[in-house]
Amino acid sequence: MDLTTLTYIAVGLSFALYIGIAIWAKASTTGEFYVAGKGVNPVVNGMATAADWMSAASFISMAGLIAFLGYGGSVYLMGWTGGYCLLAMLLAPYLRKYGKFTVPEFIGDRYYSKAARIVAVICLIFISFTYVAGQMRGVGIVFSRFLEVEILTGLIVGMGIVFIYAVLGGMKGITYTQVAQYCVLIVAYTIPAIFIAFQLTGNPLPQLAFGSTVNGTGEFMLDRLNQVVTELGFLEYTTTSKSTIDIFAITLALMVGTAGLPHVIVRFFTVPKVRDARSSAGWALVFIALLYTTAPAVGAMARLNLTETIQTGEVGAEDGNLVFEERPDWMKRWEATGLLKFEDKNGDGRIQYYNDANAEFAAKAAEFGWQGNELSVDRDIMVLANPEIAQLPNWVIALVAAGGIAAALSTAAGLLLVISSGVSHDILKGTFTPNMTEGQELMAGRIAAAVAILIAGYLGYNPPGFVAQVVAFAFGLAASSLFPVIIMGIFSKKVNREGAIAGMLTGLVFTMGYILAYKGVFFDPIIANTPENWLFGISPEGIGAVGMVLNFIVAFAVSKVTAEPPEHIQVMIEDIRVPKGAGSAVDH
């Protein structure tokens, strides 16, 4: 069978599975729609959380990013896993004890303020739409490459599937489809990694192969990689050009941002007990770690494979580079997508791939008769091209396509649900139309989800130029606005309404202002985005960490000079700190 047919079968079967689950798990109450009736087993919830969390970026882009950033890619590895320790120990159990439906609802109750709730909803909606646009884009890319259809067709199919299970099934439907999607994506990710690890080092476990010797050389893979890339003028793989303080700040912003992302937090509202919320975070991280410890190995192996495919012999030797006409088939296929490009600048019919931005090496390269780097590779293709590079059978390639779509759809659905519950539960029921019946609220939630899907699809088709840049926004805002007020709401009895609102607004305005000033987004940047201009040497990606600290300081300072929270709030805080009697906090 040819690749396209196989891919249609793999993707079609996975879609049939998701729809089947959606029909089986239809939500009939708001409790089921928002939090799956609080009846999800903690291990199952862990798996659903892993799929919810691991987006198209984790599946498609991350290993490629690491391949080109080397040690610098560690910010994503630590940053996107470490937040689960914060979730497990500082947030999830207490929010589960609190026992209602949404994150803004907690903020509104704890700080006895509708204004605080509205600020939180606005942050939530902005963060979630930013994120969801990237997911829909991912769906479109996978469809256009593997199924050879227009991006628009791919998007419409993807939107249709999400519509069916998110709108019908709500959180309940999403939970069980996410479990299925996790299984699809993790199998699709690890199979090619295991094959490549085995081919390259003889050790099938990518996590170990990464530190093993390369077949036929006796050299450790990372040592060899360092040598191969530095010979071509690139930075040593195990080092970075970023400053220590920037690496520190970015990692912190990503970790804290993870713990403050509403679509992740809300997953812990779905388990039956407080202790399930704790263990569920552990299971989530186990399932996430399976992919996250494989990814750096995939990145390193991909970089080595790519470099050695092009640089077949000694650097500078006349026959040391790959002859263009003899390039492998996978390169030809990816050239068709425009994501891989070759330009024979010196007309020798061979491909030279080196760092021409390194002046010292460029001078040396000129002596070899090289006239600039001739190959450009989009980072996003490394994972998708992996099975082809390793010459794996077509069904593996088809599986990777289904895995990429699963990763994107599972995250998109989780995001759309928090947007819809923010609209129907926090904005409508909680603020403007408190007299709605449950049936009306459920209908409002479904309509909000449907509208959100349309907007997400539009953003995926016409990605505003700033989509890539606003990812820094999502994490920065979650870190600097939501995370600190939730933590203070649990761990301090002193922080009050005035403190929380002032803290959130400070974190929000500072972080947004900083990112806008350097990145522009809607206009040209006000200040050039270079390390010399950054505050304390911290890039816009890491500034959420500073925003978070400011939020804490302002909230404590303002609370100190204003009235203490009322008695019933202090009782509520005491109640959420103790597991026994889950749900009683609701009555206050």
């Binding site: 630590m78 186990v286 410890t293 103790v578």
Partner: protein
């Protein structure tokens, strides 16, 4: 807050503080601040600092959560605040 709950909360905060300190040391300490020093040690094909940044810290994160779960379950029983007892 009665004395029992105050004691329970104090023990909880102490446990979390210790675990978060370890969390900080393996990631921000070994993986970032002291990465160069640790990279001079090479074990089984990995520079140690690089390994902590790309592998080790993640394994420790997982272990920390399960230690937390076990210790908290014990603490809940000790203070009689486990949900279904």
């Amino acid at each position: 807050m009665d004395e029992q709950s105050a004691a329970y909360w104090k023990r909880n905060v102490k446990l979390v503080s210790v675990l978060i300190a370890i969390w900080f040391i393996v990631s921000y300490g070994f993986g970032i601040l002291f990465v160069d020093a640790l990279n001079s040690i090479e074990i089984a094909g990995f520079q140690l600092g690089f390994w902590f940044a790309q592998q080790g810290s993640i394994y420790v994160f997982v272990a920390l959560i399960f230690v937390y779960v076990a210790k908290m379950n014990k603490l809940d029983r000790e203070f009689g605040v486990r949900e279904d007892d």
